[in-house]
Structures are given as C-alpha cells and as structure tokens.
Subunit: 329 residues, 6 copies
C-alpha cells in the first residue's frame, strides 16, 4: 500500500496545482517510505546542436498529469505496490559540466544509498555519466541498457572530454559500467566515419541498430537484453531520440527512420525481472515540441519505468513468499 | 445525380470563399434533396483536460477544402450517388451542458425525422449523447460503433453525470443504445483502476483495445464489427484520439501507441453495407494542431463517412434493382 | 522578515523544480505566517469565445520564476516586509459554474477570514464573482477596481445568468460590491448596442474607456481611483485583456488599441495606500501565447500586486509607529 | 434599417457556423439591398518575399466574428444605417497575374456599377491595380489614400511590370488614379537607392513617412488628407504592413518602427465625410500570425471602413434633409 | 578523394556559419572538380493551394547541417568517392512561370553539359519540367522515377498549361521523358474524377498507388523500378508529399495514409546502379513545419541521393577495373 | 565605392541562396577591402535561463535579406562609402566558456588589428567580454555603450566568474573598459537585492534605467552618451532584451515595460561621430520568435550599426577634406 501516491484527480481536476510528475507529492527530503523518486536534472550544457533540455523536466511534468495509476498493459495498480514522490530537480551549475557532475553525484548518492530507485528526467545525455558514477559507488560497475539513436561514445569534442556525445566512453574508462553486460539499441543515422560505428563495439557494448531492431522484432530484442544483462545491477537510460522524429520532434539531434513509441514502450515493459537500480529519460527539448508529442512520449516512458519498479517489487515479494513456502515444505 | 455538391475547384480555386465542409453549399434549412448534412456541434464544456474543441468544426472545414469528390479507394464518385450540404453549426449554450443537450436534440430531430444522415463534427465527446437521444427517438435503441482511446463510460465527474467521459454509460442507462450490438475499438492508456477496464464490458459493450486491434488486423476487426452490429440501425462515433498522437496531436486527452490514420480509414471503409443512420467525429482541438495534421485526419474520416452514405445508397439501389429483376423473372 | 519567501536562485537555478509562483513554497494548508497567498482558480467554463484559461495559472507560474524579490520601481524588498506562499489551485468542477462557485467560495473564505490577502490567477473572469462573494462575507460590500477591456455587466447569455460577461452585474445585484465606490478602466471595442455602453454606468460604476485613460494619463487616473475608492475595503481585478493584444495575445477576447504593460504596471503601483483585501489576474490563455508574452505581463501584474501587499504593510507599520510617536509626544 | 446584417451572437454563439466576415450573410449574387460588400481577393502571385496572402481573407474572417455592430468610437450603430454582405471571394487564376487582373476587373465592375461600396481583403498589394481599373471605369480617375510602409511604385521586377511593388506606378500611367489628389502615409524602411524615395513624389503623390506621421500626429495628418483629396471619388487602400511588425507580424515584407493599430484606426476614422468609393486591406499572411494579432488588426481596419460607409450614408442623408429643409424655407 | 567536401564539424561546430547544404562549400561557379551540385530552385508560383516553397531550400539547408559524411546504411564514405558543392539557388522570376522556366533551363544546362549531377531543392513541383527540359537537351528523352502522392498530369488549371499539377503531362507531350520507362509511386488521395486516375496511365506511365506499395513492399517495388528503367538515363523526382503528413506536414497538398520516411529512404537506396543524371526534392514548405520534421525528411532524401551519386561512381570504377582486369587476362 | 556589397536583389530574388547577412559576400579570409565584417559568435553556454542563442546569427541572417542598402533615416547609401562582408561565425567550444573566450579573442584580434570594424551577432552576452579583451589589446581600455535591460555586473553565479550576467564586472576588473567613459541604458526589472542596483554604479558606470530613458527622451539621452564617451575608442553592445518583449520575445531573460524598436534605432543613429571600434547585438533566441519579430529588430539594429560605420567614414573623409582645404588656405 502506497504512502506516497498521486493526487486523486476525481478530488481535484488534473489541471490544478503546480505540476509534479504524475501529480505525485513534491518532497525535498528523502525518507524511508520512498521506493522510487522522480527527479529532474535540468542540465544541457553538454549539447552539441539544439539546446534547451533544461526545460525538459518541466515539459514532462506538464504532460504527466494525464497519467493514471493503473497500467493496463502491465495489469498493475502501481501504487498498490510502491510509494514514490517527485523529488524536484537536482541543483546543477549551468554552463559548467564538471562542477555539475560533482553536484549531481553528491545529490544522487543518498538516493542510491537508501536503495531508492531514481527515475531521472534530463537534461542532455551528459548527465547520465554523473548518475552512473553515483550508482557505481553503491552497486559497483553496472550493466547499462541504452535506448538511443547515437552511441555517445565519442572520445572528445573540441578538445574536451565531457559533453553529451561522450558519456559512455567515459563510463567504460572509469569502470563504472561493465560493457560486456551492456547493450545499445536503436543506433542509426549518418556518422563522421566508418570507424565511428565500431567504437562502441570495441569498447565492449552490444550494439543493435534500429534496422536490426526492426528485423528482430521487440520480443526477440527483449530476450537478447535479458541474456546480456542477466541479474547484474543495471541502469536503464532512454534517450528520447531513440524514437522516430515524428514521435519525438522535441529533441536535440533527431535522426529519421527510428522506432515508434509503441515499440519503445513494449521494450521497456520487457525489462521486468531485471535488477534495475536506476533509470533516466533524457534529451527532451520542449522548444521544438509545440504539440507536446515528445513530452507525451517521455512521460509514458517514465510511467513504464515506474511500473517496472512496482512489478519488480511484486516479483521480489512473490519470490520471497515462494522461498518461504519452499522452506516451510 | 447530385443536386447539392461541392463547388468545382476548377472554376474557383479551392482556397476561395468562406470555408464550408468540402466546399459544399451552406444551407440553413433542410430540404428533400439532402441525403446527408455535415454539421458542426461546437460544444466543449464537457472536456476534462485540454479544452477548445468548439473550434474543431472550423479547423476541419479549413482543411476539408482539399478533398475531391472521387474516392479512389472506394471507387466511388460520391456526388453521382448522393446530395448533401454543409448545414452550419448547431446552436449550443456555451458553458451549460444540459441546456445544450436540449438544443442539440431539438435541432437533430428534424434531420433524423427526414431520414437525412447527419455527419457531425465536434465538439467534445459529450455531444454524442445528445445525438443518440435524437436518433433513438426516430430509430429506437441504436447499435453504436465507437472508435476511441477511451470507453467514456465513467459514472460521474465531480458529482456530475454529464461530461465527455460519461456519455456511453448514460446512453446505456437511457436505453438509447443497445450495448449488445455495440462495440468500442482502440481503447488504451493508463486507467484509474483495474475495474475501469471492466465497466464498459459490464455495460454490455464489446471492447477491443488498440493492442487487440493490432493483433487482429483491420480485416478481421471489420468482420467482428459486422457480426456484432448486423442490420441494426447504427451510429458511428469517431473520437479523433483513436489515432496515435502523431496523427492527431490536436485533441483533448491524447494517448500514445494508437493506430494510424491509414488503419482508421480502412476500418471506416469496412463499414459499408451497415445500416448507418448517423456519424460524428469529435475532439478535434486546433490549438494543439499547428500543422493541421489532426484536421487532415478528421476531414478524411468525415470524407469516408460521406462515401459510406453514397455507397450504402448504391447498395440499396442495387438491391432494389436486383429484387425487381428477381420479381421480373 | 519573511518566513515564507522564494527559493534563492543563487542556490538552485531558477529553472529547477516544479514551478510555483515566483518560486515560493508550495503550501496546501493556511497558517499564521502568511500575509498573502498566490492561488490559481483554473476555471474556464464561463468563456464565450476562446477557451483554455484553465491553463492560465500554470503559464503564469512558468514565467514567474524569472521574478526577483526586490521591486526596483517601488524600491521595496518584498520579503523583508511580508511572507507568502503558492497555495496551489482551488478545486473547481469543470463544466459546472454554480458548483464551482460554491467550491471557490468555500475555499476562499478561510483565506479572507484569516486576513490573508489572496492573489488569484484565473481562469476566466466569471471566477471573480465567487471571490467577491467570499470577500463580502468577511468585509461587507467591497469597492471594486476593474482593469478590463469589457465591463462584464451583461445580464445573461443564452438564458443563463452566470458566465464571464456577467459577473459584475451579478455582484451589484447581490450587493457584494458597492458600485458607487467602484471603477472600471480600459473599456473599449465594438459593442452589440449603444445601450451596452450605459449598462455599467447605470449600475453605478465609474467607467473609463482606454481612450479616456490615454487622455488623462496614468497619474490623473490614479488620483481618480483613489478619490473613488477612498478607504473602503477594495478588491482589484485585472483582466489581462486590459492590455493591447500585442502585449497579451493569449487571452479569450482580445480588443485592439489598448494600453501597454508599462501603463498597466504604473496604474497598479499607483494603488498603494488603498485598503486592498484581494486581487486577481484573469483570462490568460496560453494556447495563443507561443512566446510567453502574455504570461510575462500577467506574472508582472501579480508581482506588483504582491508588492502592494508589502508596501501597504509597511505603510501601516509606519502609521502605527508615527501614531505611537505622536502619542509619546 | 438593415436588410443584411450580422447574425445575432446572442442567438447563436459567435463561434458557430462557416466564418463570414463579421457573421454577415454570405451572398453570391449582388442585389439592391447591399450598400457594401465585403469580398476576398485571395491572390498572392505578386509577392516578392514571403508569400501566402491568399489565406488572408480566411484569417480575417476567422477573427472578425468577434466584432460587434455598434462602433463605440464613432458612436454608430452600423446596421441601423447600412446593409451589407460577405460576397465571398473573387475568382482568380493562381500563378497568373494578368489573367487574374482581368477576372478581378470583370467581377468588380458590377459592384461599382451598382454603386455598392466594395471592401476587399487581399491578397497581396498587386490586386489593388485591378480594383482601381474597375473603379475608374465607373468613377474616372480616382484619388488614392494609401496606408503603407512601401510606396509600391517600382517600375518593374525581373523584367515584369506587374507585381506587388509596382501597382501605383501602373495606376498613374494608366491614368486611373490622379496622383495630385493622392497621398501615401507610413512609408519607411531601407531602400535600394536614394532615388527610390523620389519616385512616388515624382509621380505626383504626396508622400508622408511614418516618422513624419509621428511628428505631425494623427489629427494634423487627417487634415492633410482631407485637403489633398477634397471631394474627389477616392479609393482607400490599407497595406497591413503600415503597422509596426509587433501589431502585424503576419505580412509579407514587415518594416520595423511603424505606427500602432490605435493610430491606424484613428486615421481611418478621420476619413469620414470623404467620397470613398472603395476600400481594401491587403498583405495579411496568416502563416506568420500564430496569435491572430495581424488578423485582429485587419479585421478592425475593415470594421472601421464599414463604419465609414455607414457614417457617410448618414452624412448624406443629413445633408439631403438639410437641403430639403433649406428649400422648404 | 574529395576536393569539395563538408566542413569538418569537429573543427567548427555544425551550427556555425551561413547554412549551406550539409556544410558543403558554397560555390557560384561550376568547375571540373564537381561530381554533383546541390542547388535550390526557390520557385513556388505554380502552387495551387498552400504556397511558400520558395523557402524550402533554406529550410532543408538549415536541417542538413546535422548530416554526417558516412552513410551507414549504404556503408559509404561519400566524400572518399565524390566531390560536390552547394551551388546556391538558381535565379527565378517570382510570379512568372514561363520566364522562370527559361531561366532555370539556361542555368541547368551548363550543369548537365559538364556531366555534373544536379540535386535540386524545390520550390513547387512545376520546376521539374524545366529541369527535365535541360536534361533532355543533353541526354535525350529521360526515364522518370517520381515519388509523389499526385500524378501531376493534369492538362491545365484555370486555362493555363503550367503549374505544379501539370508538369508530367507537359513532359510527355514535349517528349523530354519517355513514359514507357517511367514510373510513379505513392499516388493516393481523393480525385476530381474516376478518369483522373487513368490519365497518367494513358500517358504511358507505370503508376503505383501507396496502397500498392504497402502490399508489394519496398524490395519488390525496387525490382519493378529497375525493370522499368533499365539502363536509360533517368531523372529522380521526389515530392515530399509522398510521405504521410506526419512525416511531412510542411508541404503544399498533404494526403493522409502515405508511406514512412524509412520506406522512402529504403526506396531511394534501392536505386543504386541506375543511370541517374539528376535529382530533385520538392514541395517543402517550412511555414507548416514548426518542428523541422519535414526538413529532416527532405535533407535525408537529399543525402541518400548524394550517396547514390557516390555509389554509382564506385560501381562504375569497379566495372572499369574489372573490365581492365578482364582485358589483362 | 564598395568592393564588397550585398547581392543585387533585382538580379536574384532576395530569397535565393545561402543566407548571409544582408546578402553580403561570404568571406572566410580578411582582406584590405573590408571596412567592416559581420560575424556570428554562436555561443550560449553562458545563459542562465532560456538557452539557444547559438541559433541567433542564423535567425538574424534569415531576416536580414530584407534589408536594402540605402538608409533613408540617415540619408546614406551605405556601400557608396564602405565595403564589408559576412565573415561567417567564429569557432567556439560549445559548453566551455573559458576555452571559447580564448578562441574568440584569437579570432577577433586580426580583425581589430587590421582596423576593420567587427559587427558581431550573439550568442549570449557572455561573449562580449571576449570581444572587449581583443579590442583592448589593440585600442587599450575602451568606453562601453551598453543597451540592455540588465547591468550584467554580477560577481559570480554558482561559484563561477564567467556567464552572461558577469561580463562587465570582469571587464572593469580586467581594465579593458573604462567605466568612467561607459554607460548603461535601459536597465529595468526586479532584482535580487537593493544593492544589485548600485553595483554597476559603484563600478563606475553611468546607469540609466528605461524609465529614465522614457523621461529624458531619446534626444537628451544621445547628448548624455556623447558627453560621457567623448572621443574615446568605444565599443557598442546591444542586448536585444533592451527592447520591450513585444518587440523582442525571442530572448533569454525578457523584462516587460521596455523601449520600442523605434526608440532603439533612434538611439543608435544618435551615435554618429563617436569613435566606434566594434559592435555587437546579442541574446537573440529564435525558439521563442515564431513570427521573426525579434530577428527583424536585431537585423535592423545591425543595419544601423553598419550605417554608422559608413557615416563615420564619411565624417572622417569630410574632416580630412576640410583640414586639407584649411591647409590650402
């Protein structure tokens, strides 16, 4: 039974009040009743093209008030299983990536330390490096599931090591993720060089292009992910540009010919049972999203992530019960 | 041969003149030469989230001037078979739903009484209850074919029985539709409660989610509709949020992962032969439709509805001819 | 010294966290440390043309995060003098005006009863009637200062007495405002009838058109207001359509050739010293405000209202001090 | 008493039905009860930069439904004095200017011949030449009052004589206007050459830049116009780019630092008493007008033009009465 | 090795400098180091509905700066194989189609004469007739591969033979294309008449509707194209309205239920090996493309065309090498 | 006589070709025939709120193609007096302000060294510090004329010394400007603290609020500037947020109640005769500028700056001539 759950929209219309994610309570302090926290990381200094993802969390919250607590596809009454809040946004230092990384790590650590699952809203993809740093302090090197049109494994950009095209190269170098248990899905679009294609693979990632995804289908892709990740602690990062631009026009570097939202949601749903310790959804850029389509996609991605937290909780409980039963026998 | 047909766009460019649906004549009085009337019902007081569907009819008219009279997919020269007009918009009482219902019923009755097929443009989905009340006075309890992301069978909202989430619960209670001959297609999205899912089924509707539609395919779905409805007088209501938000961003409560416009049009085309007595297309909200995509979808939905009127007229004529032939033999 | 004050944007960037007005704390319970509360009243069922002001409070909050606590023009460090919060939005019954009025009154009463100054964000102008009902229960018939392009003193609309064109006729009839101490400023635009012009005057209001305002100038207008209102308890209602549409395109019924934001702010600043018991700013409609200009205007109107609360507090304190000094002498 | 007047918006909400200008009846045939006709001329092939003014008439109609029949500033109940209709749009040949000119002349002639005052909505400014050709057939060379940021007196463009920068050079050459009785107001913006400035003056026009207008003020400008035009038959052409771009962003070639809508309306109001035989308002381009500000400006310009028709009718009647009285004496 | 290639975005950020296609050098003179030129033809006087495609080339350039030189799907480092530039835009005579045709032909001829492959950006589809005239002077009657929602084989429009609905009728009449080697793909949408459907077929084109394309699939469609065209010199024209409006809302006459960008790109990729002498991509209309989706689609279409130039170059080289090898043996 | 001047728009329509400022030649190398260069500095990492000014130069170029070479207000045929080019954009390191500063200085130095006047387009206001560093290396400490809503003299932001709110504090500290010869005009909006107001004055700037500007009027303000600056080498920096948001909605931190574009242009025109060594116009943010109003304002600001270069050239020439004449006598 949830202690923190969304406001009841039959008691106050969903369009009332300051927007929090899914109308969850806004709490600035962590406590023991939180299974997950939704938090924004409005940092976009890492962007190489369109910029403005600092307004992503607001845009996602604005749309998220439409979400209702029973996930039909997953047959799950989320807040019967888990309790969570909108934890507000982390403090960053706009314009300064290293300083922001330090601040993000510092603020994420207590969340991971308490075993709370963070579900973060970017911000550009550079933030994920900081999230992984914090997570790895608690869980050791993580498996990474990356839904993305780009590998983000460049070495540097204008002589600098940190920006939104490099986080996963850094993460491998820093040994905070284990590439042999990690996977990238949805990669596509023109590259600078034929070798670009190989960088991620050489780092150790399993890499699936969106064309490969189309051929394999969602079901088989899900199996591949499970095989790859197994029971490692895993972080799930979802770059909204994974989706075709018609589903996510509001993003920094759109690439045509990508998967649909339906495919994306089915993929996330397929992650149930994995030992997920954190999530994020990044690169939502509202200035190019006049009809809130991108925000809708992102809010639903977040929603499926929350549902996973709930389902995994139930699975664990079931397993515990079964174990106890077995013991009893 | 049509008495009322669209203006010829080779005589005056299609962008000339006040916009009527498909450039049909604008007539404020009914007469015997009308097989169908297109009419707006610009009422949006029933909306629970985004509001502004009162401007839906205008937006649909604005785009509809692109439509041409020969339906290629259906191989039908519409106005060789039927005659129809833009009947303007019904008068409603903005802000007052019950009073508006009375006015709508009063204005719809003469249409149904004359055996003219109304093809209405909403407005929010609350208007359909009033349309059904009028239709039922003439035809008795109707079958309902509802294309929609939401069942719209809530019991009440903030203590009130009438709004755009409740019309089909009311319609069953008022016995103006026969749920056992009725069907809902495209239902999806998170709900408040697991029981929400069952409400429509308990009321007697056949309910097909969009995921079920994807699995069955359009062809099989069409067969299911025909089986369900048979030869009952049937009303077809099309909530534009049936479509995935990329096809219909301009609507009140978008739900991701829905069907395409192509699927929707194939479904409507599949309704030929049914005894359809009325249509509507609702929840078009132009403020979120900067590229007129939603209006394009709605105008084409309306266009296929008009084509059905024409085809059904031909089918009846053919049947009559065949009967006469058989008699002659 | 303020107990409740905006978040310090040198500690967390102003674009972080759920948006509250001016980054004030979000509090759902009243307490004794509140001199004012900012509250949304997201009701728009009363609108006769463009609709969607239910999203006005969100839009105003979104822009308001740019506001800083020192009002230069008024030379006032607001939160050195007063304490206030974002009280969230009042619960309304969308689509039902009378029920919403009851709810608004019920929720406003405790605010007035505690002597807290409410600064409300609409919503359409129909909400002001409910605010006045609540205020009058505490203060008796109020003076009204109405900045507006329209008198809003129609008798009825489609047979109904309540909508956004009638609140001030009702307020006079209900004797909750005293028209002889009330004033309307900025009235303009075409009317239905020459008599429309006289209705407000016959009800007892002083009425100044925007052309008269241009001729008199802001300074003289301020004097006229003070003369009219004197020391009566007064409610200030600011319809954003007071401004020329270039300053406030995002509103329901724009009228060309109106005053500038600069004029409007000077007028509000001129109200200092009046015994103001409540404020609102209504008719902000974000769907027609792609560049957030209207939200900027409204946020600044709200800001000047808050400043007035602070200044009036200081004036009272000064007077008290002076009185005490005089006594001492 | 008017035979043709706007629909009563207390009987049907103003947002109902196909949009006609000001909700006037839509009539495709001229008759004797028309004092004026509003008509669109949706031709934009003459545009040299942004294009799309063919959708101008629709945009103006869309906003015009907000206009009400009593003009407060002019203290005139328009339809107590005159009767008029929305005559729809003239047929043009898109892409072909000469052919379109012929068609426009042919369709305008019957209007002028019947002594009906046309109030046309462009379309780009090239259409005015065709209007003047038709008018001059009936009235002989006309005085021209041109509100515009540009003189539109170029000789040619890419070797061609007809486009929206040349109509008034052509009109002088064709002797359908009398430049010595004509005046251009609002001219501004950078030019190709210092001689450009002199072309219009050399053709015989009185030319007032917007800076000169600011210095003279509206009142003196009005006197100058009356002195210049006297009692000649005069055509009034209003290019919406006369206004500063903040008032009219939706136009083809905006020039900064122009007059306000308020100034513009005061200028038109000042034209009462002149022998005006036709009007147009051109260069409204909705694709750059997301908030309908430009449409609002244009609709109000049109409204003041209609009011002038009404006032001039009254003045004539008054004069006739006075003459008769004098005779009687 | 390329002499002209895109600017290196690791040396200057891709958002720096005047926008040229893909950051290619901007050259106004042809020279011998150019294998292809990208050129705009910003002419839109031929448009029958929405207009503004003169801004298409700019919009495509704006987005194209995101493109990178290695085409993953085609495994091709473009500029290892070919050299090309942004040749700027051709000079047209706005508002005058015949004069513009002459100018286009005159400017295209030197390109074809030098054996440079032009890749043109429209402008409306009327421009293709002029391109074909120039190409045919050099290559004789061409095969045409037309991706389009409309056949564009009307005879005339408002009495005129040239506009964007007629170019391919003209091209057949002028014998500059060989319809028996030509093919139209993607045709759909309502028509004026059942005979419209047959016009293109009667002219000799192979015509495939978008529904036929869906049934055949991309692979089979590619085979059909190759069979039809064989080794004739062929011109590829891509009307952006080939795509479903969700992928290309920014176009003049959108038709619902069309193919995806992914399908379109696969089709173009399938053209490798054909003897393509020129390309264009037309009907991009940025005013209806607020999120740059249409520009993204068009830029990628252009990109695949350039890749084809590179691949065909390699294929020729390979063949030459093989031939030489065979000779050597 | 100009060697480099804009393309003649009577030879190629102004909407043809890659956009350069005012259609000037695009040159990547400096040469002796350049009196001025227009250059973009697309850096926006310094922004504290809305971000995206990296696209400012493109937006300004896009609109600038409307500008024509004869400045009517200044009676100056610009390119009879001076020669200039679009120098493209400087290379910056996105996300890294110090590195970008170094790059900007390095690239600006050759411009100043050659005595060419740079007219830069931002980018956010942080770039001006780098421009001043370069200029001061050549000219020594400069006078600064700053048109701006904000003083931009904060000390630091989130512990960092460089961002768009601090450049002029730094410039004083680095002794690259002489505050005693410098002036800020247009300052307004709420502040964090009463002391904020004094910071700029304490640094030595003359500071004029927008309210003071309204009171003094443009003419007197111009005199004050001249008195302050005298004949010092002076840099003119124009933050587009100087203008009221209705004129410049597309900017990072809009402040209501500012001056008009007309006022701004008159102020710049008033600077003639000053010894101006460089200009910039910053903070144009196209994502909030759907109607290109802000770009229009900025392009015209740039245009007046170029005109000043031309006029000052003429003044110097005249002085030289006069001196020679005097000598001759």
């Amino acid at each position: 039974m949830a202690l923190y759950e969304p406001k009841d929209s039959s008691q106050s219309p969903r369009f009332t009040g300051p927007r929090t994610f899914m109308r969850l309570p806004y709490k600035e302090e962590l406590d023991d009743n939180m299974d997950f926290v939704v938090t924004g990381i409005p940092f976009d200094t890492g962007a190489s093209f369109r910029v403005g993802a600092r307004f992503g969390p607001q845009a996602i919250r604005d749309f998220s008030i439409l979400l209702r607590p029973f996930n039909v596809e997953q047959n799950t009454a989320i807040f019967d299983l888990v309790s969570g809040v909108d934890y507000g946004d982390l403090v960053v230092a706009p314009g300064y990536i290293k300083q922001s990384y330090e601040r993000i790590v510092e603020q994420m650590l207590p969340i991971f330390n308490r075993g709370i699952i963070p579900i973060a809203m970017g911000g550009d993809h550079s933030i994920t490096l900081a999230e992984l740093r914090a997570a790895a302090q608690v869980y050791g090197p993580l498996a990474l599931i990356q839904f993305d049109a780009h590998s983000d494994t460049w070495d540097s950009y204008f002589g600098e090591k940190y920006m939104h095209g490099t986080p996963f190269k850094r993460a491998v170098e820093e040994e905070i993720i284990d590439p042999s248990a990690s996977i990238q899905i949805g990669i596509r679009g023109p590259l600078y060089d034929s070798t670009d294609l190989e960088v991620a693979r050489e780092l150790g990632f399993a890499v699936y292009s969106s064309e490969e995804l189309f051929e394999l289908g969602v079901g088989q892709m899900v199996d591949i992910i499970h095989e790859r990740v197994k029971d490692r602690p895993v972080f799930v990062t979802f770059d909204i540009d994974f989706f075709d631009p018609v589903y996510a026009p509001g993003t920094g570097t759109p690439e045509v010919a990508g998967p649909s939202v339906r495919d994306g949601l089915h993929l996330i749903r397929g992650l149930k049972g994995l030992n997920i310790v954190g999530f994020d959804c990044v690169e939502v850029l509202p200035a190019f999203d006049p009809s809130q389509i991108t925000a809708a996609a992102a809010a639903n991605v977040m929603y499926e992530m929350i549902t996973l937290v709930a389902i995994n909780r139930r699975l664990k409980a079931d397993t515990a019960v079964q174990k106890q039963k077995q013991k009893a026998i």
